[in-house]
């Protein structure tokens, strides 16, 4: 697994990152994909204490919620970067949402069978250090300026 570091955050070379939602997509066999939250999305959410996911099978639209995350008494929706049919939620993070605090880049949230429309949606995601690093570094800078993450 190829990883790279941006401003102290570990990112994965085989993941596609969504600049809009701070979620990542890992493509699997065929049309299968797993979705997770990137480390900035996790950090700005706070210390995750609870997680709920839609019950599969469920049609998920790009920009639509596939679950909810609770951190510091804040409940917010988990927004999908791609469209597809949710086929599974990750039982490990459902049982222990704190796993996301430790390593959000490893622990996936849901598995999808991507819709054909997702092919164009994937074009809006970023992959590879040369594309991901500049965007992610700018986001870190933006969140630091806003005081949303520590210097």
């Amino acid at each position: 697994m190829v990883t790279f570091d941006v401003a102290g955050y570990e990112l994965h070379g085989d993941r596609l990152y969504d600049p809009e939602t701070h979620m990542w997509v890992a493509l699997g066999d065929g049309a299968r994909a797993r979705i997770g939250i990137d480390p900035l999305g996790r950090e700005t959410s706070g210390d995750v204490v609870a997680l709920s996911l839609r019950v599969p099978p469920a049609q998920i639209e790009r920009g639509g919620p596939f679950g909810d995350l609770e951190a510091a008494k804040f409940v917010g929706p988990l927004i999908s970067p791609v469209s597809g049919t949710m086929t599974a939620g990750n039982p490990d993070v459902l049982a222990d949402p704190g796993l996301l605090n430790a390593d959000p880049g490893v622990h996936w949230l849901v598995e999808l069978e991507l819709d054909p429309a997702a092919a164009t949606e994937l074009d809006d995601l970023l992959q590879g250090e040369e594309h991901v690093a500049p965007w992610f570094a700018a986001e870190v800078e933006r969140f630091r300026k806003q005081g949303a993450i520590a210097e």
Partner: protein, 343 residues
């Protein structure tokens, strides 16, 4: 100057005291301005956070006391709400809200602390999201994204019925209930308890309105709810009473029991191999401990003495309890699931 819409709903039903701000948030568009909404419930009820298990509430006790239970679309635990509390909610479009949960609370709860200061209390935002005077919490808070809006919710507590709050919690035994009540009395306060029994809801509304307007640099404007907001409120009133909504999204049961009294103050209870442990944690330190077992005599007292003063974390507890062999290990495993919960 931006306008701050103020929706003061006055005294409303228990259901409306929840649906009001759920509806305002649901109806909010990305270009709308902020809304400060306020209300007081006419009757008492119990509100539970979105992800919390209904099993945390003694539903029989609620029925006996005539307390409806409503699940909210924001976080936090079960709370007793009654007419001695004024609810306030500041709601704004997601893209205009401060980024990051820490900054969201710091920015949108500080005006509530300022309002309490203007009423004569030395209030401050304490920790991430408590509003406190000294070691006493003065406002329950929570937040969430509903539709395209973020809302931060709090209350001004004129008086608080600690005993009733303790009665509605489902707890494994009376010893835990007594300890939760003791810590609530010490750490959850009210305007009346702080010597401000003459402050009225009108005073509190005026203080909140002025403080949020000043903080947001906005001119406060009293407005009724719009037709779109009223429609959304109606939809939430239907949804909030649906049995499926009340059951919640379903969370796994975890061993042990933990009750948070305020940030960094909580009581834990656990069992292992016939050994029961009840412990209170203030800050990061165990301040009170009771160990019960039919098989332990003097050792139980020794274990309690070792626990009190220990940091409430696994490594130190493991070290301190190691000399007690199996009994120490059972105490450790009885406590740690509830200690390590993050609620």
């Amino acid at each position: 100057m931006t306008a701050l819409r103020v929706v003061d709903a006055g005294t409303v039903s228990a259901l409306r005291s929840q649906s009001l701000w759920h509806g305002i948030a649901s109806a909010m568009g990305p270009d709308d301005g902020p809304v400060l909404s306020l209300c007081r419930p006419a009757q008492a009820y119990v509100s539970i956070g979105y992800h919390r298990r209904l099993e945390e509430i003694d539903l029989d006790a609620c029925r006996r006391e005539g307390l409806p239970v409503l699940r909210r679309r924001i976080g936090g635990g079960p709370v007793l709400i009654d007419h001695d509390q004024l609810f306030f909610q500041i709601t704004m479009p997601v893209r205009r809200a401060p980024a990051g949960v820490d900054r969201l609370y710091a920015t949108l709860l500080e005006p509530a602390a300022a309002a309490l200061r203007s009423l004569g209390l030395d209030a401050r935002v304490d920790g991430l999201n408590d509003i406190a005077v000294g070691e006493r919490k003065l406002s329950g808070t929570g937040a969430g994204q509903i539709g395209e809006a973020v809302t931060v919710v709090g209350n001004v507590i004129f008086a608080f019925d600690h005993e009733r709050m303790a009665r509605i919690l489902a707890l494994p035994d009376d010893a835990m209930r007594a300890e939760v009540l003791r810590l609530m009395r010490r750490h959850v306060s009210s305007l009346r308890a702080e010597g401000l029994g003459d402050v009225t809801a009108v005073d509190a509304v005026a203080a909140l309105r002025a403080a949020y307007a000043a903080a947001l640099g906005a001119a406060p404007t009293d407005t009724p709810t719009s037709a779109a907001e009223r429609a959304a409120i109606e939809r939430w009133e239907q949804r909030l009473v649906e049995p499926e909504w009340l059951r919640g999204p379903g969370q796994p049961a975890r061993p042990g029991r933990r009750v948070k009294v305020r940030s960094d103050v909580f009581v834990v209870r656990g069992e292992r191999a016939g050994i029961g442990v009840l412990a209170s944690v203030v800050g990061d330190t165990i301040t009170n401990a009771v160990v019960r077992s039919a098989d332990l005599n003097g050792t139980a007292g020794a274990l309690e003495r070792v626990l009190v003063g220990s940091r409430a974390e696994r490594a130190e507890l493991t070290r301190r309890l190691a000399p007690f062999g199996d009994a120490g290990e059972h105490v450790l495993h009885a406590m740690t699931p509830a200690l390590e919960e993050r609620w």
